[in-house]
């Protein structure tokens, strides 16, 4: 025992992370949906979600995080790009010009009268691309020896 290195115990950091993580993610999702009428949107929402995952990376290590969130971020980026581009292509079927967006009011359970806009789909693409790119950068730098 004497010659063994003293292992740092991150119990406080890890416990706090487990709670704060959800608050950050919920806030990022709030920002994502707020984007239409208030400051926020896909870019800042995506960065915020990525920062939550980064906090997880700081508190634990890369292997653990990969086990908790088994996502290939490069694929996530391309899926996000695909969603964003196809949301523009969708207007082709209605003989409108590329990237034309529309909205309508729907009556949803719990939420009541809600305005749903197709621009959100584009924003979802942006959101996924931002998470994917940020996490790819951080993971690639973190993994290189």
């Amino acid at each position: 025992m004497a010659n063994q290195k003293i292992k740092t115990n991150d119990v406080i950091l890890q416990t706090v992370t487990q709670i704060i993580l959800f608050i950050i993610i919920i806030f990022s999702i709030y920002l994502f949906f707020a984007g239409h009428n208030a400051p926020g949107g896909g870019f800042i929402g995506g960065l915020m979600t990525a920062s939550a995952i980064v906090l997880l990376l700081i508190a634990f290590d890369i292997k653990t995080v990969k086990k908790i969130i088994p996502i290939n971020y490069i694929l996530l980026t391309s899926i996000g790009l695909m969603i964003a581009v196809l949301s523009g292509v969708g207007s082709f079927f209605y003989n409108e010009s590329f990237l034309s967006h529309t909205f309508d009011h729907f009556h949803l359970p719990l939420l009541g009268e809600t305005e749903l806009a197709t621009a959100t789909i584009f924003d979802l693409g942006v959101y996924l691309v931002v998470i994917g790119v940020t996490m790819t950068i951080i993971q690639t730098i973190g993994e290189t020896e």
Partner: protein, 493 residues
């Protein structure tokens, strides 16, 4: 279909994204990218035909009207360049299959190419100056990726230089747009043209136009701003260099042409005179570089700078002959530079060296390659039946009409030296004592004949079919010289 003119941008973009999913399946990547590239060629031929029969095509993206939303404009000049771009990309893909290597292919090489095409085609088709900036960045990001992909020492060193230069020029681009926006309050090119002509001949407009000249000059490698080009274009593999050499500088040239025929036409005496002299010095420095080196890549790379000078001189004359010559020459130059870089790449594969002094007698074992190179050389210099002739003769005619005799003679003299520099490769590399027996060669180039032959045949056909191409070029020239056609098509007044 109203969305037709976005397809040349959208197809490569979607393909690039799709290819990310097939990272490890190289066969699928090759098939999809070649197929889409072939479809793009057909689409752009249709686009040229559409512009020819129905006039300038515009698309207001998202349905927002012209000065308020982004508008894509396909006039004849842009459409012809889109067509040429797609031909080069197609042949470059064919060239890549055997030369690029599995390691690079597995690391998103084909996606990189498709995103590069998205940027280049987007830059040609956009009608909004900030959107032009964005497409420049799309193109540059992909070119950063392609220049460093592989990670050899020289690539790392040269990509740092390349990125530094381009980041600075992009920052200048944003600043230039900010000045222009502060002055006019609009970003749409047609609207800018109207607003700038309302402001008239004020000093600040001239200052901003020179700032734009510096920005696009950095991208397009004109005289004092070409310092980054020879090193950077030497680093990546031949298929990538061919794409860069044929396309990237031409986007800068296209932007200068567009901006100085549409927006900044109030103080022609100063701005276009400046462009003319910078073009003259580009030609002079280009040929100095081309005759100075014994490295086959450097010889062709310096010829890019000369060609940029020739085209810009044609634009700077602002006469029908000069501008139509520039349009002829830019298309010719994209094709012939592609062909030359492919042949240089093939030579490198055969001999394993870029040093001309270590080659010799290649014509004994590779007569077809030698004669293809010979034809490209004559075409590059502008020998009459071939494609470089008609452009240069028109440019010189434009120069004589505006009485720019000195620069016109620089064009003529530079042709001579360009011919000398390229024939130096032919005489030392292909003729003379055979230094390499058949079995000593470093690799096989049999499949590489396909892309090279396609380009050389197109170049020959272009030279002989000038009569057929002339109506298209003259339509492009009319639009360039008369901004009201462009403005009316976009703003629909």
């Amino acid at each position: 279909m109203i969305n037709f003119i976005i397809l040349p941008i959208l197809l490569p973009l979607l393909t690039g994204i799709l290819l990310i999913f097939f990272r490890k399946q190289i066969k699928i990547q090759k098939v999809i990218s070649t197929l889409i590239s072939a479809i793009s060629i057909i689409l752009s031929i249709y686009l040229v035909w559409l512009v020819q029969t129905e006039g300038i095509q515009t698309l207001e993206i998202g349905g927002w009207q012209a000065p308020y939303g982004i508008v894509l404009v396909a006039d004849m000049f842009a459409s012809l360049l889109v067509l040429t771009t797609n031909i080069i990309v197609f042949t470059s893909l064919l060239f890549s299959f055997k030369t690029i290597g599995v390691e690079r292919e597995k690391f998103f090489y084909y996606s990189g190419i498709q995103f590069l095409v998205t940027g280049v085609v987007g830059a040609f088709l956009t009608g909004d100056i900030f959107n032009l900036f964005v497409f420049f960045e799309v193109m540059l990001m992909s070119s950063y990726f392609l220049i460093v992909l592989g990670g050899t020492k020289i690539q790392l060193r040269e990509s740092i230089k390349y990125i530094l230069v381009n980041v600075i020029s992009s920052a200048l681009f944003v600043i230039a747009i900010a000045y222009l926006y502060a002055l006019t309050g609009t970003l749409n090119m047609a609207d800018l043209s109207v607003k700038v002509s309302e402001l008239g001949q004020s000093g600040i407009i001239t200052v901003i136009s020179v700032l734009f000249l510096i920005v696009f000059g950095l991208k397009g490698a004109i005289f004092p701003l070409f310092f980054w080009l020879p090193g950077s274009y030497k680093a990546p593999p031949a298929a990538v260099t061919a794409l860069f050499g044929a396309l990237l500088t031409k986007v800068g040239v296209y932007s200068i042409t567009r901006v100085f025929t549409l927006i900044f036409i109030t103080d022609v005496g100063f701005t276009h005179g400046l462009i003319g002299w910078l073009a003259a010095f580009s030609m002079i420095f280009g040929v100095i570089g081309a005759i100075a080196y014994w490295d086959i890549r450097k010889i062709v790379i310096y010829n890019i700078i000369t060609a940029v000078g020739v085209i810009l001189f044609g634009v700077s004359t602002m006469t029908f002959a000069g501008v139509s010559g520039a349009v002829f020459y830019v298309i010719h130059d994209i094709i012939i530079k592609g062909a030359l870089f492919f042949i240089i790449g093939a030579l490198f594969i055969l001999t394993g060296t870029a040093n001309l002094k270590k080659m010799g007698g290649l014509i004994h074992n590779h007569p077809l390659l030698a004669w293809l190179f010979f034809i490209s050389t004559l075409s590059l210099a502008g020998i009459p039946p071939l494609s470089g002739f008609i452009g240069k003769i028109n440019i010189i005619q434009g120069g004589f009409e505006t009485e720019d005799y000195v620069i016109s003679f620089v064009v003529l003299f530079s042709s001579l030296l360009v011919l000398y520099s390229a024939l130096k490769i032919f005489i030392n590399g292909f003729w003379g004592e055979q230094k390499l027996a058949k079995d000593e060669e470093k690799g096989s180039i049999n499949v590489l004949y396909v892309p090279i032959t396609i380009l050389v045949v197109i170049s020959i056909a272009y030279g002989f079919g000038v009569e057929l191409i002339y109506p298209f070029v003259s339509q492009a020239t009319e639009t360039l010289l008369d901004p009201t056609i462009y403005i009316e098509a976009v703003l629909k007044e």
